[in-house]
Amino acid sequence: MTSADGDGRANGGVVSRLRRIIAEGGLRGLASLAARWGTKWSLWPPHLVTACCGVEVGHLFGPAYDAERYGALPMPAARHSNLLLIEGTITMKMAKFVKWVYEQMPEPKFVIAMGACAIKGGVFYGSYHMVPASNVVPVDTYVAGCPPTPEALLKAIEDVQRRRVESL
C-alpha cells in the first residue's frame, strides 16, 4: 500500500520498527513519525483560486476523482491548511495574495503549482501581468498541462506525500 508499510515489512514488522525509532530518536523520533504519517494523509488546501485551472480542481474533488480518498480536503482559510494549490496563472495582482496566504499558513506547508501558466507562462508567455509561481513561493511539485487533468493532480498529491512529507 504505502512505502512506509513496505519498509516496515522489510525490517521485520511495525512493532520492531517502532522500537528501533524510539531507541534511535527517543520521543522526538516517535513524534516525528506520527507527524509525518498524519501530514501525509491530511493535506488540506486553502481556498485560493488563482485562475482557470480551478475548474479542474473542482473535478479533482468531485465524485470522479475524489481527492478526499487521499485525505485532501479543501479548507476555507489559510490558518488550518497546509497545501497551497496554485491553480494556474499567477497575475501580478494575485501574486501579493498568493505570497500573503502562503505566509499565513502554519508550518509545515507544501506547494503544488498547477498548469503550464504556473510553470513558465504557458499560452500567456510574455504577458505583462503575470509571474511564474516559483518567483512567488517555493514550489514542491509542478503539474504540467493546460489545464492538467485531475489524474495528474492526484499524482502530484501522491508525489508530495511520498517525496516531501516522508522526508520531513
Binding site: W41, S42, D66, P76, H80, P108
Partner: protein
C-alpha cells in the same frame, strides 16, 4: 470511575469524536457518488482519517497572533471544549453508571447547554476579526432561536418523567409519549450543534469559518472538536430522554443498546449535511420563534394531557 473513563466518559467520547467526523464524511460521500476518506487505511474504509487529521493538526505550527489578547485567544478553545463536555457529568450511561447522581440531572444538563454558547461567543470575540465577529453574532442569534424550544421540549418530557435522568429508561420511551417534543428536540439540537440547515455560525462561503476562522493547529482541533462533543452530549441526552436509553437491556448489553440509539440519532444529524443547504439567519430565527416555538408549546400541552389522563 467506569462512568468517567469508559462510558459516557473519556474513551467513548474520544472514539465518538473520531468516528463521528469520519462518519460525517463517509455518509456525505455515499450520497454524493464518492468514497470519501479511503487510502489512509484502505481495509478499514479510511476510519483512521480523523486520527491522521488530528495528528497533522497537533503537529503543525501553533500560531497565536499578536494583535489580540494572546492568553485569551489560546485558552478559550479549551474552555469551550471543557464546557461542552460538562453535561456528560450528569448523563447516566446505564443504571447507576453516572458520574454525579442527581435528582435534578436534566436541569443541570439544560443549564450547561445554555451557558456553553457564551463560551463560543467569547472565543470569537477574542479572535477579533470581522468574519469571526459576524460568526459570533450569528452564534448568539441562533442561540436566541433554539433555546426556548429546546427548554420547552425538555420541559414537556420532564412533565412526564421528572427531572431525574436515570428514571427515563423505565416505561414507555419518550418518543411514544410525545413525538412532538422529539421532533422539536431534533430540530433544536441541529441548531444548537450547527448541523446543516442551521450551519449558520460557521458558514464557510459567507464568513469563512465564523468563530473558527483564526484557529490553526491544536486550537482548531479544540474549537472544532467542541462542536462534536456537544453533539455527543446532545445525542446521548436525546437517546436517553426520547428513545429510552439502555432499555430494554442492562449492563454491557444495555450500554451497547444506548450507544446504538445515540449513533442512530447522530447519523440523522450528520446526514442532514447531504440533504440541505444552510438557511439565512433571519429565516432560522423566524423558524425558531414561529413554527418551533408553537410546536414546543404544543408538546408541553401534549405532556400535560398525558399526565392528566
Amino acid at each position: 470511575m467506569v462512568a468517567a473513563v469508559f462510558f459516557p466518559g473519556l474513551i467513548t467520547m474520544g472514539l465518538y469524536l473520531i468516528l463521528a467526523v469520519w462518519a460525517e464524511r463517509k455518509l456525505a460521500a455515499k450520497v454524493q457518488w464518492r468514497y470519501g476518506p479511503l487510502y489512509v487505511s484502505e481495509k478499514l474504509g479510511g476510519v483512521l482519517q480523523t486520527v491522521a487529521d488530528l495528528l497533522k493538526l497537533a503537529f503543525s505550527e501553533l500560531v497565536v497572533p499578536s494583535y489580540t489578547n494572546r492568553a485569551l485567544f489560546a485558552a478559550l478553545p479549551a474552555v469551550v471544549f471543557f464546557v461542552e463536555a460538562l453535561p456528560l457529568l450528569f448523563i447516566p450511561g446505564g443504571p447507576g453508571l453516572v458520574m454525579i447522581p442527581s435528582g435534578y440531572g436534566l436541569l443541570y444538563v439544560v443549564a450547561i447547554i445554555l451557558i456553553s454558547t457564551p463560551a463560543v461567543v467569547a472565543m470569537a470575540w477574542a479572535e477579533a476579526d470581522k468574519f469571526t465577529f459576524i460568526g459570533l453574532l450569528r452564534e448568539l442569534l441562533l442561540e436566541a432561536a433554539y433555546e426556548v424550544p429546546l427548554v420547552l421540549s425538555l420541559l414537556a418530557m420532564a412533565l412526564v418523567y421528572g427531572t431525574d435522568l436515570s428514571t427515563y429508561a423505565q416505561g414507555l420511551p419518550g418518543i411514544a409519549v410525545n413525538p412532538v417534543a422529539f421532533f422539536v428536540y431534533l430540530v433544536a439540537t441541529a441548531m444548537a450543534t450547527s448541523r446543516f440547515p442551521f450551519e449558520i455560525p460557521d458558514a464557510d462561503a459567507e464568513i469563512v469559518l465564523g468563530p473558527y476562522t483564526e484557529y490553526g493547529s491544536s486550537l482548531f482541533l479544540l474549537a472544532y472538536g467542541s462542536n462534536y462533543v456537544k453533539l455527543y452530549a446532545m445525542a446521548l441526552l436525546g437517546a436517553l430522554v426520547f428513545l429510552g436509553g439502555w432499555a430494554p437491556l442492562a449492563g454491557i448489553a444495555g450500554i451497547a443498546v444506548y450507544i446504538l440509539k445515540a449513533s442512530a440519532l447522530t447519523a440523522f444529524w450528520l446526514l442532514l449535511r447531504a440533504v440541505y443547504p444552510r438557511m439565512r439567519i433571519d429565516q432560522a430565527l423566524r423558524l425558531g420563534w414561529r413554527e418551533l416555538l408553537f410546536l414546543s408549546a404544543a408538546a408541553v400541552g401534549v405532556s400535560a394531557l398525558w399526565r392528566l389522563w
